[in-house]
Symmetry: C2
Subunit: 260 residues, 2 copies
């Protein structure tokens, strides 16, 4: 049986202050832990012997056998898996997020950890390697975020920065933003490099950043001009915007509407 102190340590990592104090974070489940092992240094892994038996060489500093009860006590999930790992938080150089040679995603005050994780996952799908977040965006190492990335966290670098200053550095580059009063994304020119800003779930992009955006984009509802009571979830809106940017730079020629 694992010690009470060890269980207590793992569980403490649900809270940001303890994560940052120790510079670590938790990932759970076989697929996710394996993806994380390819990118981050592990500090500790607790796992069922049956899981260990299916693995090759596991590069963990400390690898402890756990039984069902240990896992249940340590897990932050409703449905605990066979393995729980503690990784060191990576340190990235924000210079790499420079949008002059690539498409960079910028998140302004995204509150929901699950939304953040889903956005990291779709950034990976669309080959976006850097996400720059405002300091009040959810923490990338929140366990709900880590789990929602489904492993994409191993491929996408998430930075935190004061966004106004960061965007000012890149004036002259195309800085797109999604707005309910923006211009139809399908009628705008979209570039292969630059930044795309997505705003808070309720309030959108804050005015100081809006002033720095060079092109305000809007995802048209259907039929066009129809009144809707609502907006799109920020992760689904981000997905549609990123898909459209990537469609433009791909060479496929759209065949248009089928005439049945």
């Amino acid at each position: 049986m694992l010690s009470r102190n060890l269980i207590k340590y793992i569980r403490s990592l649900e809270q940001k202050k303890f994560r940052n104090g120790r510079g670590t974070f938790v990932a759970e489940g076989s697929k996710l832990v394996n993806d994380m092992l390819s990118a981050f240094e592990s500090e500790l892994i607790i796992a069922k012997p049956s899981w260990m038996a299916t693995q090759g060489d596991i590069p963990a500093k400390e690898l402890l056998a756990a039984d069902e009860e240990d896992i249940r006590r340590a897990s932050l999930l409703k449905n605990p898996q066979d393995v729980i790992a503690v990784f060191k938080q990576p340190v990235y150089d924000i210079e790499e997020a420079n949008p002059s040679g690539q498409l960079t995603l910028v998140l302004d005050g995204i509150q929901d950890p699950g939304n953040l994780g889903t956005i990291i996952r779709l950034a990976d799908w669309f080959g976006i390697e850097h996400i720059v977040c405002s300091p009040d965006t959810a923490d990338v190492f929140n366990p709900k975020t880590v789990q929602a990335t489904m492993g994409a966290l191993a491929h996408v670098k998430v930075h935190y920065a004061a966004l106004e200053a960061w965007m000012q550095r890149y004036e002259g580059q195309p800085l797109y933003g999604a707005f309910l009063n923006g211009r139809n994304i399908y009628a705008e020119e979209l570039s292969a490099t630059g930044a795309i800003v997505m705003g808070n779930e309720g309030n959108g992009i804050r005015p100081a950043l809006e002033a720095l955006v060079t092109t305000k984009l809007f995802i048209p509802a259907y039929p066009a001009g129809r009144e809707t009571s609502e907006s799109l979830n920020v992760a689904t809106a981000t997905a549609i915007v990123c898909a459209e940017f990537r469609r433009r730079v791909s060479s496929v020629v759209t065949t248009g509407l089928a005439r049945p």
Copy 2:
């Protein structure tokens, strides 16, 4: 103070068996309750007097004043709002979901209530009025689903049906499905009517339905052909697919890639 039995009744509606036994469901929060009131018959509303004061005529069969403590006890949310309402479950005619004259969304085994709610919300945005779900899809009246729709549930009709039989009825219509081994959606003809099938988060669309799909679609990763460890979240994939169907039937001419 509200009676213990009343509180117990509201809280019981977190469970499907009690929801279906009573034929009711719960919605919480001012915006959501107002949207629901426009579409569904209310059975009971409990609200703070301060909320009631901001409303006009409230068409509730039973309207009870509640204090902070009542709301806290009755609420199914982490952060209770000012109003909790119980509505009668609507009964819809599945004949209306006929895909021969409209685009209908079909969900095969979507497990997560939040994903279902997000999909209902984006269906509303894209003017899709009917969603047909397999019986093992999450329950539309799960409080997590209802809350995630952000009111879109008032505009989108969600049906449950044995999908194989339902799809067989519409052979001859275009029946699209999203698959990891499908054809690039941007290179396929897409019609303005028909059905779009989205599959389970882990297993995709089941074989019996796959056999009935006429066009298998795929959202290309970027850069094209790049290996990714993962797929997209089902709600984000649904968003991208629906956006692309609606883009095709809209009259906007895409101006293409900006040349910087």
